[in-house]
Every structure is written in C-alpha cells, then in structure tokens.
C-alpha cells in the first residue's frame, strides 16, 4: 500500500496528483512534494491499468497479438500495430507489396496527425484554455471518419496484418484525404492564432520544464520530447522503414529544451505529416495490398527487434522466438515510459501549474506507460 504522508519532516507538503485528476489524462498517480507551490520532487506511481500485455502476448499467435498493441498507446494504435507487423515480417522475411507499404505510411501519418491534434487540444486544456479542445476534435473527427471508412474502426483499427494491410483502401479514400488536407491547412493557422501566439500561453510555456540534450538522451526520451531538446532521434529518418526513405520531409528539432520547444516541434510535425500525405496520396502504386502468407505463422528461432516512430517517440518490439506459433517472450519498448521517467528531473523547481504544462508537452498516454 502507498503510505499516506501529509507533510515531510522538513515541513514540505505532500500531495497526490491523480489517479483521478483532470490533468493526468487517465490514471497516472503522482506524489508531489511541495514547498509552498514549488515542486521539490515528483514520484510517479504506475500500474493502475497494468494489464500485462507482454504476458498476454506470450499465449497469442503472431496474427493475434497485433491487435493487443492497439490498446497500449491508443492514440497511435495504428503505428504500434505497424511496429509489430514489421517485427513479424522481419522474422518471417515476408516482402510487403509496395501498395501495402504506401497505405501503411499514409495511415501512420494520419494517425500521427490525429494524435497530435488531440494532444494540442488537451495541452491547451491543461493550461486552462477550454475552447481549443473542441476545435481539435473537429479536425480529428475528419480523420476518424476516413479511418472508419477504410479500416472499419475509429480508434483501435487493427488494420495491420503481417504481410500487408487487412483490406484495400476505400474508393473514396483519396478524395476524402485531399479534402481533409485542404480543410486542415486552413485550420492549423487558426491553431496558431488561438493558442501559439497567445501571450499568456507563451509565458506559460517558455523556459518551463527545461530538459538538456544530454539528460534527454540519458533518460531515454524519444520523439518530440527529445527533439525539443535538439536530439535527433526520428526513427523515420535514422532507420527508415517502409517508404520513408524515399520521401521528402524534415526531421523537426528545436533547441530550446523547454515546453515551448516541444510544443513547436509537435506543431511543425503536423505540417510535415501533411506534406508526407500530400506526397503519397497521388502516388499509391497499384497491386496487391497483402502478401501471400501462410495461415499459421511460425517465426524461426531467434530474436527480432523492430522500431517505429509513433506520435510519442520510439516504439520498439522485441520478439524472442523459440520457433513456435507463439512468441516465447515479447517486450514492448514504449516511448511514454521513458519519457515519464524524465518528469521528475524536468519538474523540480517549477510550480504546480508548470507541472501540468510539462505533463502536457510530454504527451503522456497512460496505457502506453503501464502496458
């Protein structure tokens, strides 16, 4: 049991932020030691929604385990599935047809956009602006509709199968995505108008939650959290998978290391994702959407590691196979877990209001941390 502590011996206040709190976005439990309003220590208590997905996967076949990973980082469920599919394909040495590759990347980027939009709304809500949340959901709804039409579900799509994707694109897909891009190009400027340029928002973000590049690497931070500190860690650029190697896009980094840098990285990433989608949407190759695979997949004995860039950072899948139909051991390296470990380091010395802003820019998804 967690012992209840009111104040420390030094007379510092100890408060529990969560597991039910408006700004923890789920069941994160932080025990904060405060001196006045200044944070002395942040201690995360995890496990409120630990489902032991790694253990579950040990009894699921290589086709079945993919869907479980949608339930980890549910905002980039498609990218998680992608990582798993890549790992199985690496083990089986399945060649994915070019059409499937492009479809996968398109869906990845749409998922990333949807995830960043939700983050933007929630981030603004954390610092007290309630309106952006609804504006963000309007755009996200458009993406979800596209997803629903092609994948059959809105959040936990399970569209990925080893060797390709589950179904071909919906005939309306291209038209709708182009419509969405046109629509979103105008709305992303509104985002800047409503939140980014706002003087109150800027002063809440600038210079807050500083994370140096060395600490970011040492804490294992990835994704926009590390890129905000100037660490180049985009898996799409460093270790290109699928068609990312042939695409023109920039790895967005900022040097500030503060909340505003992380915020700007995500905002720029949305624009980059848009440009990736624009490059691909007219160039989807014809052909099969799924490679021919056996009904029962058996990975050869060995170890396979694959990584993808989710909206939150590097997602790794580590499969140890004994040659059977189920993995012997599977490990998911989730980005949120490592990013959270830097929270204490980042939040010390700032105020409670800043902690909320820092958590917002870390973009924590609790099931991703707890697994």
């Amino acid at each position: 049991m967690i012992q209840e502590v009111g104040t420390t011996e030094q007379g510092e206040l100890v408060i529990n932020l969560g597991p039910q709190h408006p700004s923890t976005h789920g069941v994160l439990h932080l025990v904060i030691t405060l001196s006045g309003e200044t944070i002395k220590k942040v201690e995360p208590h995890l496990g409120y929604i630990h489902r032991s997905i790694e253990k579950m996967c040990e009894s699921l076949s290589y086709r079945q385990f993919i869907y479980v990973t949608s339930r980890m980082d549910y905002l980039s469920s498609h990218i998680n599935n992608h990582g798993c599919a890549l790992c199985v394909e690496k083990g089986m040495q399945i060649e994915v047809p070019p059409r499937a590759k492009v479809i996968r990347v398109l869906m990845d980027e749409l998922t990333r956009l949807a995830s960043h939009q939700l983050w933007w709304g929630a981030m603004a809500m954390d610092v007290g602006a309630l309106t952006p949340f609804f504006h963000a959901f309007r755009e996200r709804e458009a993406i979800n509709d596209i997803m629903e039409e092609t994948c059959g579900a809105r959040l936990t799509m399970n569209y990925m199968v080893p060797g390709g994707v589950m179904a071909d694109l919906h005939p309306d897909f291209q038209k709708k995505v182009k419509e969405f891009i046109r629509f979103f190009r105008t709305k992303i400027d509104e985002y800047d108008e409503l939140v980014t340029g706002n003087v109150i928002f800027k002063s809440r973000m600038e210079g807050i939650g500083y994370l140096s590049a060395e600490s970011a690497v040492s804490y294992g931070c990835t994704g926009p959290t590390a890129r905000g500190s100037g660490v180049s860690c985009d898996i799409r650029k460093l270790y290109p998978y699928e068609v990312y190697g042939q695409l023109q896009f920039e790895e967005v980094t900022a040097t500030g290391g503060d909340c505003f840098a992380r915020y700007m990285v995500r905002m720029q990433e949305m624009r980059q994702s848009l440009s990736i989608i624009e490059q691909l949407i007219d160039n989807i190759p014809e052909g099969e959407f799924q490679a021919k695979t056996k009904a029962v997949l058996k990975l050869p004995k060995g170890e396979f590691y694959s990584r993808v860039e989710t909206a939150r950072g590097e997602f790794g899948v580590y499969i140890i196979s004994e040659g059977g139909t189920t993995p012997y051991r599977i490990k998911f390296r989730s980005p949120g877990f490592s990013n959270l470990s830097a929270l204490d380091h980042m939040a010390r010395g700032y105020k409670i209001g800043d902690l909320v802003a820092i958590m917002g820019t870390l973009d924590l998804v609790i099931p991703d941390i707890d697994r």
């Binding site: 007290g128 706002n198 809440r204 105020k351």
Partner: protein, 358 residues
Amino acid sequence: MLSIENITHSIDAWLNSMFHPTVVLLVESLIVGICAISLFAVLGLVLVLMERKVSAYMQIRLGPNRVGPGGTLQTVADTLKLAMKEGLTPDGADKFLFNLAPFVVIIVAMLILAPVAFAKGTQIWDLNIGVLYISAVSSLSVIGILMAGWASNNKYSLLGAMRSGAQIVSYELSAGISVISIVVLTGSLRIQDIIASQQDGWWLFKGHIPALLSFVIFIIAVTAETNRAPFDLAEAESELTAGFHTEYSGMKFALFFLAEYVNIFIVCAIAATLYLGGWMPLHIGHWTGFNQVMDYIPSSLWFMGKTFFLIFVIMWFRWTFPRLRIDQLLNLEWKYLLPISMVNLLLMTLIAIEGWHF
C-alpha cells in the same frame, strides 16, 4: 409613463397612507429582501445558461438543448439536481467554518447589491459613499474563500484559497484606483451623482484615453477579483481539481457557484455604472433630438443591456484564454496594471483639474 420608479413610488405612497412609518420601513425592507433573493435566483439561472450557451457557440457546439425549449430550462434542472444532492462534510473538516463559508460568500455578494442603481430611481440604498462601500465590501469575499479553503482540510483547497487570497488582495488595488479615477472626474462617491454626471455622455467617451485605459484595467481587475478565467487560479481545475470548493457538494457548492455569477453581475453593473452611465441612455452633448429619442428606451433596459454586454465580454475572455500561472498573475498586477493605473490616475487628475474632459 410606466416605469419601475413610478411603481416603487406608488407602492411607497400607498403603504405610507395605510400604516405607521416604522411598519412601512419593515414591510419595505421585507419586499426589498424578497426582490433581492429572487433576483439572485433568476440571475443564477440566466447567467449559468448564458455561460453555457456562449461557451458552446465558441466551441462550435450547440450547448444545452434538451430540457425545455432550446435548453432554456437546463439550469432549472441543474438546480434541482444540486438541491437533491447530499451535502457532504469531510471528516477532518472544521465543521462550523466549513458550513459557514458558502453563506459568507453569498452574503457578501448580496451586500454589494445595495447601492447598485438598476434603473432611474431604483436603488436599494443610495448612500453617499456608494463607491467606497462597494470596494470595501467586495474585498470581504476573500474571507469566505479562505474560510472554505482552510476549513476543508484538503491541500488542494488550501492552495486554492491561498492563491485566491493573494490574487484578490492585489487586484483590489488596481480596481480601486480605476474607480478613483472616475471619482476624480465626478467629484462624488455617490452612485446617483456619478450617473447624473454622465447626463451629456458616458465617461468612457468623455474622459479621453485615460478613461478608456482605466476601464480596461477595471475589467481585467474585476475578472481577477471574481476568480474568472484567465485568472481562475483559485479553482484551476487542471491543477487543483476545483481549488477552494473541492470538498463542497450539493447546495453548498451551488451557493459558491451562485455567488460567482452574482459577483460577475455586480462588478459588471458597477463597471457599467462608472464608465457607461448605468441606466443613463446614450446621450451625446447637445444633440437634444438624439437624446430624446434615446430616452424613449427604458432606463432599466439600458442598464441591463450594458451589464450583460460586459458579462459577455468577461465570458468571452474565459472561453478564449489559457490560465495564467500564480507568479505571472501577480507580475501582471504589480508590474503592469498597478503602475499603468497610477500614471493613469495622475493624468486623469490633470484632466479633471484643467477641465479638459467634455
């Protein structure tokens, strides 16, 4: 002409003709009390609905639309729900203070109602230090909030209350100075005198840029004083769950809620009185014809229109801006608002002495 003034006068005359003056005073106090309480109830219902509709339209959604025509009865349903809820008192709370706090807050809100002029000749108490009375009483509400925060025996509540204390005490200053700059122009603290001085135009237009500045500062300061976003640090739901009223439920919570909206109404009414002429219709200098046309619109409508416009502006703030941090909030007051309003007051005094205003 049928106006509120005539009605009140005829009731007064009728009562005086029937009863002894002491009885008349008692009966009139009773009537005023009932009117004030029902005004509270109506204001609560209307303003909460207004807030929800304003926020909904700004957030591209419809807002309440199921209870009653267009959702107009939504707040009635909410009130019923709150009335039926159990009023919990936490185990470790200081029971007396905990239960007293919401009443302190609501009584303070009621007290400020006294000198507000709702229409021509309609005022509960036209005391000669009206403006001073308002600034004195309005700073009492912090006591209720501190009481609630401390008595709840909850750390979030305590933090919220401490923030609120620091905030209200500092913003009291620039609000007071803004009020004084109008007092300088009129030379009187009496509300009726201030309104009467705006016979030929509202101070907002007559007082040059200093009046405009002090109006803006006053609006910012009262937004902070009523704990409204972007200055809602005492509640700050993403940081302190609900701040000082975290532990309140049922009717006691409803009283806090009601007091917040009544406070908004009152500060907006005061802003309207000081800068926009209260019930005084829009008059421009010597344009007698224009002024007479304006007089045809009842004074109570003028008053309500101005007040509700200001309330809308304050709601507009809330649904647009992020929240400030506590140190930034105090910075804004001590580094920006207070120096500016002091310089502004000097300019205003100069204008008043030299008679440069229109």
